[in-house]
């Protein structure tokens, strides 16, 4: 009897750690949480950690020219609810004229889990994760991951807490101190960027979330000087002719470091002189 209890305790101790899945070939997925316990009625920050073999990558929410975004399907106890993935800003992978957006080495995809006030005992969080892993060749990957956590009055940082802290620095922030405006021009979409006073913009790259507006393989040119600059983004010639809004992430290189800003702005139409531009012809079709 004592032995059975000991074995059960050992099993529970093991289950409390993230259970990795071995189903993928070059990427390992696991489920982690920022804290070591669930607190009734308080949201839990959990996340899927993907660890890639050297040279391999997985994809951002907009994979760019090729690839697929990673997908998480949660299996949670009654009363629990998962939010959307909080995507860290990605990096670019170029292969000739094909440019993709994703992550190499390691990424944590954080998700906030709503916890009911009635939570008690031990809670099993589980998810099915699907991704596309690519080096040069691509393979679909999937894993069933789970995490068992005790419910307590308060939680302490887990072993994964530093990973959440590092990831938080890569999450786009609301750009309230910045002015960002988008205008459609012939063949290009121009972003007018005005950083807050005292911030010098050295470089910028815009990762579009809105699909089928931009040509990801074309160069993005930062031009101008003074308080406002222009980032000229090449358009997808077969893309959406007149998008109403542009959503994405602006990664700005400043003297103070790299900042990722959430962008969600209306797109002003181009000047009247652009009536004969290819974009206008496209619109008529």
């Amino acid at each position: 009897m004592i032995r059975t209890v000991a074995v059960t305790l050992t099993l529970l101790a093991r289950l409390a750690e993230a259970v990795p899945s071995a189903s993928a070939r070059h990427v390992r997925a696991s489920l982690v949480a920022e804290t070591n316990a669930i607190v009734p009625g308080r949201p839990l920050l959990a996340g899927v950690r993907l660890q890639m073999d050297p040279g391999w990558h997985t994809y951002w929410r907009n994979p760019g020219d090729s690839g697929l975004p990673t997908r998480i399907r949660w299996q949670l106890p009654a009363g629990f609810a998962a939010g959307e993935i909080r995507w860290p800003y990605p990096e670019r992978f170029s292969s000739g004229p094909v440019v993709s957006y994703g992550y190499a080495e390691e990424v944590l995809l954080p998700v906030e889990i709503a916890v009911p006030a009635s939570a008690a005992g031990r809670v099993r969080l589980a998810a099915r994760v699907d991704w596309l892993e690519c080096q040069e060749a691509c393979l679909p990957g999937k894993a069933e991951v789970e995490l068992v956590l005790p419910v307590r009055a308060s939680g302490a940082p887990s072993a994964a807490a530093p990973l959440f802290a590092d990831t938080a620095r890569r999450l786009p922030v609301r750009a309230s101190a910045w002015s960002v405006r988008a205008r459609m021009e012939p063949g290009a979409l121009a972003l007018r960027l005005r950083p807050p006073t005292g911030t010098t913009l050295r470089g910028a790259y815009f990762y579009a979330v809105t699909p089928r507006v931009l040509d990801y393989s074309g160069p993005q040119a930062l031009a101008g000087s003074g308080p406002a600059l222009r980032l000229v983004l090449p358009r997808d010639p077969n893309g959406v002719a007149s998008p109403e809004r542009l959503v994405g992430v602006l990664v700005a290189e400043t003297a103070g470091g790299t900042i990722a800003l959430e962008v969600n702005v209306p797109v002003a139409s181009g000047a009247a002189s652009s009536a004969s531009s290819p974009s206008e012809q496209e619109k008529k079709r």
């Binding site: 094909v98 690519c134 010639p237």
Partner: protein
């Protein structure tokens, strides 16, 4: 006289080379003439886009080792489209832009063997090993589909359907854009969806 002429020719050649990258960026734009090309097929016969004038043509970018391509060949979806539309007089060319040594690269014999085994029914498999035609069209993924009308105007550019997955089961529930474009265009109707996001593996171009 010879020297200035040679100089002029060299300068012109330089100017043309300088213009090429911009021309390549122009890519294939729906509603405009599809870029002209000429490529050898898996049996050594050359096919030019101009040869297809008077008929609808489909261009399909292909890498047999790509899981997205395997979805459409493994389910029989691609071969079925090829068989039905070539049966109605449409030209269907399957284009391999994988560079030598890269995933999905095939020589003529390999292409023929794969298509025989898999029941492929394209008009021809074209070998674009230097990737020039792929780059000219802005082919990003396998598959990436283009439909050209009998006058050589590009009617459709984009994905094969609206389900960007590697799951074979999705073929049945997907909206197939190539089928729709060919169905409408061959019936004399305007094409409803003229472009979409292509999905798949990146085309394995050489460096």
């Amino acid at each position: 006289m010879k020297t200035p002429l040679a100089f002029l020719v060299a300068s012109l050649a330089g100017a043309i080379v300088a213009v090429l990258p911009a021309a390549a960026l122009a890519q294939a734009v729906v509603g405009q003439p599809a870029p002209a090309f000429s490529l050898p097929d898996s049996n050594g016969k050359t096919h030019a886009l101009a040869d297809f004038k008077g008929r609808f043509a489909v261009l399909e970018w292909w890498n047999y080792e790509c899981p997205f391509v395997r979805k459409h060949y493994g389910s029989g979806n691609m071969q079925d489209l090829q068989r039905r539309w070539t049966g109605k007089g449409v030209v269907w060319v399957t284009i391999n832009s994988s560079a030598p040594g890269k995933q999905g690269h095939v020589n003529g014999a390999k292409a023929n063997a794969l298509m025989r085994e898999g029941g492929g029914a394209a008009t021809a498999v074209l070998l674009d090993h230097d990737g020039k035609v792929g780059r000219l069209y802005g082919a990003k993924t396998t598959p990436h589909m283009f439909v050209v009308d009998p006058k050589g105007i590009l009617l459709y550019a984009g994905g094969i359907d609206d389900k960007p997955t590697t799951d074979l089961a999705d073929v049945k529930v997907a909206r197939n854009y190539v089928e729709a474009a060919l169905g409408e265009a061959t019936a004399g109707k305007p094409v409803t969806v003229t472009s979409s996001q292509p999905y798949g593996c990146s085309v394995k171009y050489g460096d």
